[in-house]
């Protein structure tokens, strides 16, 4: 019997090992490609074992650092502001909804819930934001549409409040003369740090990784975030030279195009890979909270 189990365990290690490899290898290929000599790429293609190394692609990236740093700036700003605003709005809506005694609470909860079932889709949303609110080509466009708050997180947080903060505690604070805003700030927020951290992490990732808003609402290169710049370069490798101090002419004709693509992708992926070990545990925990009943 024990032998049979050992077989299972071995099979498990083999399958998971292979799957893990498939998850890691593309990143390694990308990195190796980015430090390969451009002529070597023309002969051998992207390879795990380049015949000749070169940091040429990164030197070119450095020349365009104004655009890249700007894009990084937009990403960081949008992620920080967006996540903070999102947590504030989500918790401010979720707390009253968690109160059983709130008149009209059921209707409000339904208004939130219904947004999960039905939506207008791209065309009307685009029209509302561009024709009514005129947010195209502003930083608002990177923060507000679709991303700022969603009904699912509101309901998730509401059920956390209901399940972990007893109504009696809130009632006694209220009897002691605490106003609703004081209760929210002094009791609700400190008691709900786990859910705030989880939702905050997911929101931050959503803002960091978002490219959709930039694609739909932004043409101005100054408001593009990192993902948008990556997106532009994918379809048009000259985007960078056209929109930065890199200059044209000689510099451009010598640009190591194929390695350059990979170098900029490396620049895009490194922050996530570096931060991952630190938030990994919360992330795994958060995945299960999110999925197991909202």
């Amino acid at each position: 019997m024990a032998k049979a189990y050992r077989g299972w365990r071995l099979a498990a290690h083999i399958v998971l090992g292979l799957f893990s490899l498939s998850c890691i290898l593309p990143f390694i290929l990308m990195f190796m490609a980015s430090i390969t000599d451009d002529n070597a790429i023309v002969n051998d293609g992207y390879s795990f074992f380049p015949s000749k190394f070169s940091f040429g692609a990164y030197e070119y990236l450095f020349q365009a650092s104004d655009l890249i740093l700007r894009a990084y700036g937009v990403t960081v700003l949008v992620t920080v502001v967006g996540t903070a605003a999102s947590l504030l709005m989500t918790s401010l809506l979720a707390y009253p909804l968690s109160r059983k005694d709130l008149p009209g609470g059921k209707i409000m909860a339904f208004i939130v819930f219904f947004t999960l079932l039905f939506n207008g889709g791209l065309v009307p949303t685009y029209m509302v934001y561009t024709q009514v609110f005129h947010i195209q080509n502003t930083l608002w466009a990177q923060i507000v549409p679709w991303l700022l708050m969603n009904g699912f997180n509101v309901l998730l947080m509401r059920s956390f409040f209901i399940n972990t903060i007893p109504a009696a505690v809130i009632e006694s604070a209220s009897i002691d003369g605490a106003g609703e805003f004081t209760i929210y700030r002094r009791m609700i927020l400190p008691l709900s740090l786990p859910i705030l951290a989880t939702i905050g992490l997911f929101q931050a990732l959503a803002f960091w990784n978002d490219w959709n808003n930039g694609l739909v609402f932004v043409n101005d290169p100054n408001v593009l975030n990192l993902q948008n710049v990556l997106n532009q370069i994918m379809s048009n490798i000259d985007f960078l030279s056209m929109n930065s101090n890199m200059g044209t002419g000689e510099a451009l004709s010598n640009m190591p195009r194929e390695t350059f693509r990979m170098a900029i992708a490396v620049i895009g992926v490194v922050p996530i890979l570096l931060a991952y070990p630190f938030f990994q545990r919360y992330f795994v925990k958060g995945l299960t909270i999110g999925a197991v009943k909202g």
Binding site: W8, G120, V123, W211
Partner: protein, 312 residues
């Protein structure tokens, strides 16, 4: 406060207590109205001939003309077929593979190894689809990709123009979808499996049940609720697709549309690139309404069998 309270009818004091709570809710509700409810009313655009000069709300009503145009093209059939087939494959294969991986992961008793595998297989879930499309490009690039330059020559095969040949894309997109998503669903299933009481397995071992038997008779039945829930969520969204997967990964290549165009990409291209707002709005309306019916329908079916597994 007390003396004042006596003068006002009881019900109004009662309500006044809640004013701060309503104020708190205001920003969130306003946002939902702007971001979710206004666009729902905007769906009416599907019945208009949108004219920016006249403004959207003043554009002429044209009845169902946009829909007759849409369904007269072959696009309507292709995008519906692609959306449904891809989703069907994604649901079956995606869940199946995630369950299999979760079962294997659950077999690994070495905590550190388990944690390592777990962390690595969610890695693809963390990065944006833009970066995924770069990774795919490193493999598939016609002149420099790993497949054309290294793998295919090793096998003695001719290079393939991946971004021009639609027939490969159903496999590529399915692989990419599973690669990106399996880790995520796997973690969810694993969490459910860890919650299963070890005593069931101990009892089964004493009775001489094989590992395979234990999986079939204990593990799978115990995680059925969560499988149902994830499947139900996915079936409810079968009319929607991951826009990034179908738009970014094939690099918006026109020759691939027959196998990569789905409703979401069709609506996007119609609106942003072709300026065909009427048809785009009609396709979006079609998606919203059918999608809504499917969510309600799938939930209704699950409710009939097992109330606890239903979403609402």
């Amino acid at each position: 406060m007390h003396t004042k309270a006596k003068a006002i009818p009881k019900r109004r004091i009662h309500l006044r207590r809640f004013v701060p709570l309503y104020i708190m809710m205001l920003p969130g509700i306003v946002y939902l109205v702007i971001n979710n409810y206004l666009p729902m009313f905007g769906l009416a655009m599907a019945f208009k001939d949108v004219n920016f000069a006249k403004g959207i709300w003043n554009s002429d009503w044209v009845g169902i003309k946009n829909f007759t145009y849409l369904f007269a093209t072959s696009d309507a059939f292709i995008i519906t077929r692609n959306t449904l087939l891809y989703n069907a494959v994604f649901i079956v294969l995606g869940l199946g593979i995630a369950i299999a991986i979760a079962i294997l992961l659950n077999e690994i008793r070495h905590k550190l190894a388990q944690r390592f595998y777990q962390s690595v297989i969610i890695l693809p879930h963390l990065i944006s689809i833009i970066l995924v499309s770069y990774l795919v490009y490193a493999l598939l690039s016609p002149e420099t990709g790993l497949l054309n330059k290294t793998v295919l020559p090793m096998l003695g095969l001719e290079p393939i123009s991946w971004y021009l040949e639609p027939k490969y894309w159903p496999y590529i997109l399915t692989l990419v979808h599973i690669w990106k998503g399996a880790g995520y669903s796997c973690i969810v299933f694993l969490a459910a499996m860890i919650g299963i009481d070890r005593e069931y397995y101990e009892a089964a071992e004493i009775d001489g049940a094989s590992k395979w038997m234990q999986i079939r008779k204990i593990t799978l039945p115990m995680i059925t609720p969560i499988i149902t829930m994830l499947a139900l969520l996915a079936v409810g969204r079968i009319f929607y697709s991951d826009f990034g997967l179908f738009y970014q990964v094939p690099m918006n290549s026109g020759s691939l549309y027959s196998t990569t165009n789905v409703i979401d990409t069709y609506v996007f291209r119609g609106l942003m690139q072709l300026g065909n707002i009427g048809m785009s709005a009609a396709a979006g309306f079609y998606q919203s309404v059918v999608g809504f019916v499917l969510v309600l329908g799938s939930n209704y079916i699950v409710r009939k069998f097992n109330k606890e597994n239903a979403l609402f």
